[in-house]
């Protein structure tokens, strides 16, 4: 992969040739969920990882902190996840634990199932501060209240003693964010942080994440299926399909001129609030199974432009000519074929 020019600042997290496979039941073979994924996360930026179900975006995020259940999953030798000069994949567990939740934190999609129902939210927020920063219980409680205030929960002195079931979905997601940020991590991985929320609450949470990122100066890896969410909140975007990175670009460039036919199709399929009633563009067919990715370009069976070469040979990520914009598509080398199809 070609490394795009550094936006601002240094590479914080370097993912190279990441392969995470799963052994399936009933001998259906190996699911190559994440298959040779590389990208960089720079200090202070928001990098969006976009794709539909089964593209490998969540497995990628779980692999970074080695949260993949083994078995059935395993991260293949040769994969590299470099943070702070260390390969996280080779780090002994105690040292990895010092990174998890401390320097790299994560928030999950389901605020209901990711909180422990039998502890107060204050206890859950304070836990990481006690473990990683060795705060006393009193100091950790004060920190928890401070965090609740930071994430915009009213009456934090009271809420700190509440249990998750006493909070609404939006409030729970704010508590999740407070838990993740209590140690002031350098990297926040947000995996579909707003998918389970109503649209007005989603807008609140996304605004909160933007504000916290500015205030705390952390880098955010924003994993989502929603192109609208990355458009408004990411600096750069990685598009995944069938376990591969198929396109990567600065957000403006990606939306101005998507180069991969999958990205193009996905953008056209999004229902638009600012367009009159019309038929939507649909990508024909469906995502193939991870146990049997197509040969050649993995998108070619669904691609409107595909020709013989696409079935035979998988393209590498090719430079498109725009700084930091690469696409895994032969059209980059033969752009006239795109025109011919239109």
């Amino acid at each position: 992969m070609t490394t795009p020019p550094a936006p601002n600042g240094a590479v914080l997290l370097r993912v190279r040739d990441l392969k995470t496979y799963f052994v399936t039941e009933q001998g259906k073979g190996t699911a190559r969920a994440v298959d040779d994924v590389s990208f960089d996360l720079y200090a202070g930026e928001t990098l969006g990882i976009v794709g539909e179900s089964g593209c490998g975006k969540t497995v990628t995020s779980l692999s970074i902190l080695r949260l993949i259940p083994e078995p059935p999953g395993h991260i293949l030798p040769g994969s590299l996840i470099e943070f702070d000069g260390n390969n996280l994949l080779a780090l002994p567990l105690p040292q990895l634990r010092a990174v998890r939740g401390n320097q790299i934190a994560m928030i999950f999609q389901e605020p209901m199932t990711s909180l422990n129902p039998v502890f107060t939210v204050g206890d859950q927020i304070a836990e990481a501060a006690i473990i990683h920063q060795h705060l006393s219980r009193g100091a950790a409680r004060a920190r928890a209240i401070e965090m609740l205030r930071l994430v915009g929960i009213p009456d934090p002195d009271e809420r700190v003693d509440h249990y998750p079931h006493q909070l609404s979905g939006g409030m729970r997601q704010r508590v999740m964010i407070a838990m993740a940020l209590v140690c002031h991590p350098k990297v926040l991985i947000a995996d579909e942080p707003t998918t389970a929320l109503d649209v007005t609450i989603q807008a609140q949470i996304l605004e909160l994440l933007d504000r916290l990122q500015r205030e705390l100066g952390m880098a955010v890896l924003l994993i989502t299926h929603d192109l609208g969410v990355v458009a408004g909140h990411a600096d750069r975007v990685v598009v995944m399909y069938a376990g591969r990175v198929v396109e990567t670009a600065p957000t403006d460039a990606l939306f101005a001129r998507p180069m991969h036919p999958y990205t193009e199709g996905l953008l056209a399929a999004v229902p638009r609030i600012d367009a009159p009633r019309s038929r939507l563009h649909a990508i024909p067919g469906q995502v193939p199974a991870a146990t049997a990715w197509p040969t050649g370009c993995r998108f070619h069976p669904r691609c409107p432009y595909a020709w013989e070469k696409c079935a035979a040979q998988e393209p590498p990520l090719l430079e498109t000519g725009v700084a930091g914009h690469t696409a895994r598509c032969w059209l980059v080398t033969e752009p006239e074929r795109r025109q011919a199809k239109r």
Binding site: S53, S168, G228, A269, P271, I273, R279, H281
Partner: protein, 334 residues
């Protein structure tokens, strides 16, 4: 498909479906041997009225707890209403006995949100599609149904777990179509699907509507999805319709601040699109304890918001012909 005798009523003069003052309250928990506090009733649907003309689609939009799903279910009497009226082709659905209701159900069907839990995992696709035909004593051809929803005939022998989400939702649609209904409640039919598949299913629903002249109540939380299918749109908040208008109009000039905020909250798939975004503060209140006056007043960002909003519930009233809104300041939209 062979069509058995009944129904095709001549072009109805009025609407095909008409709901008047629909109310559904769920009883709160009662005191147990006089101990503890009695809980307030949950007013899930609180006086909802609308009509849908034959062959048209009403988009019913709202967030969790707005009561939109309850409206769809009580209309088909999958849940019994507390009060109100539902006319289907001139028949009062809420007054029917079970035999008459069963006969009418043939003409009113539903497609559910979650294609994973709404199909019986132990039945093949063919069995699933044949069941409603048998119940209603119809002769329908399963292969023709599958073809109509874009599935290969080979799918007949498969079980739900062998299908993707989009394929399951196609089976759910085929099941609703099997009895040749005139009216279908589509309850969030694409929310569980990926974007590219969602577009396929929305297009399919639009094609079927044209071909079979179906009437839809399309329930959704997503105003962008509704834009692509609805002729009219009604927006619900805490059990009430707060705005109702022809689709083109509600998107061009929303009159209720809640609709304005909902429209502005949809993330647009292009960068820097975010005009001035309105981010509502606070959570959606519980329908067991709706705020006084206008139910939206605690979150309302309207600059003219006044004491009147806190005390005086605004009625749903026409602002321009065909465009209704329940806001004291609908003449000065945000």
């Amino acid at each position: 498909m062979t069509t058995p005798t009944p129904v095709p009523s001549p072009q109805p003069l009025g609407p095909l479906v008409e709901v008047r003052d629909l109310v559904k309250h769920y009883a709160g928990e009662r005191r147990w041997f006089g101990l503890g506090r009695a809980q307030a009733d949950v007013r899930a649907v609180d006086g909802v009225s609308f009509a849908i003309s034959g062959g048209k689609t009403l988009g019913l939009v709202g967030e969790s707890g707005s009561g939109k799903t309850t409206v769809g279910r009580t209309m088909l009497r999958l849940q019994e209403p507390t009060s109100g009226s539902m006319l289907f082709d001139g028949n009062e659905v809420f007054a029917l006995d079970s035999g008459a209701l069963r006969a009418l159900r043939r003409r009113m069907q539903i497609v559910f949100q979650d294609p994973y839990s709404s199909l019986n995992p132990r039945m093949t696709v063919e069995e699933t599609l044949r069941e409603p035909l048998e119940i209603h004593g119809l002769n329908g051809a399963v292969p023709a149904l599958l073809d109509e929803v874009g599935l290969d005939a080979a799918f007949a022998k498969r079980y739900p777990h062998e299908l993707s989400g989009g394929q399951r939702q196609r089976v759910g649609i085929a099941r609703a179509l099997s009895v040749e209904p005139q009216f279908i409640v589509c309850d969030e039919p694409v929310s569980a699907l990926d974007v590219s598949v969602q577009a396929q299913v929305l297009n399919l629903l639009a094609d079927l509507q044209t071909k079979r002249r179906l009437t839809y109540l399309f329930i959704a939380h997503d105003l962008a999805v509704v834009r692509h299918i609805a002729d009219d749109v009604a927006v619900m908040y805490l059990g009430k319709i707060v705005e109702r208008a022809p689709a083109a109009e509600i998107y061009a000039q929303p009159r209720h601040p809640y609709t304005t905020a909902l429209l502005s909250a949809v993330p647009a798939p292009h960068p820097r699109a975010s005009k001035q975004r309105i981010v509502l503060s606070g959570d959606i209140p519980s329908p067991a304890h709706p705020p006084s006056g206008c139910p939206f007043h605690p979150r309302c960002p309207h600059p003219k918001k006044s004491e009147r909003c806190r005390t005086d519930p605004p009625p749903l009233r026409p602002i321009t012909p065909g465009h209704l809104a329940a806001c004291h300041y609908a003449e000065d939209p945000m």
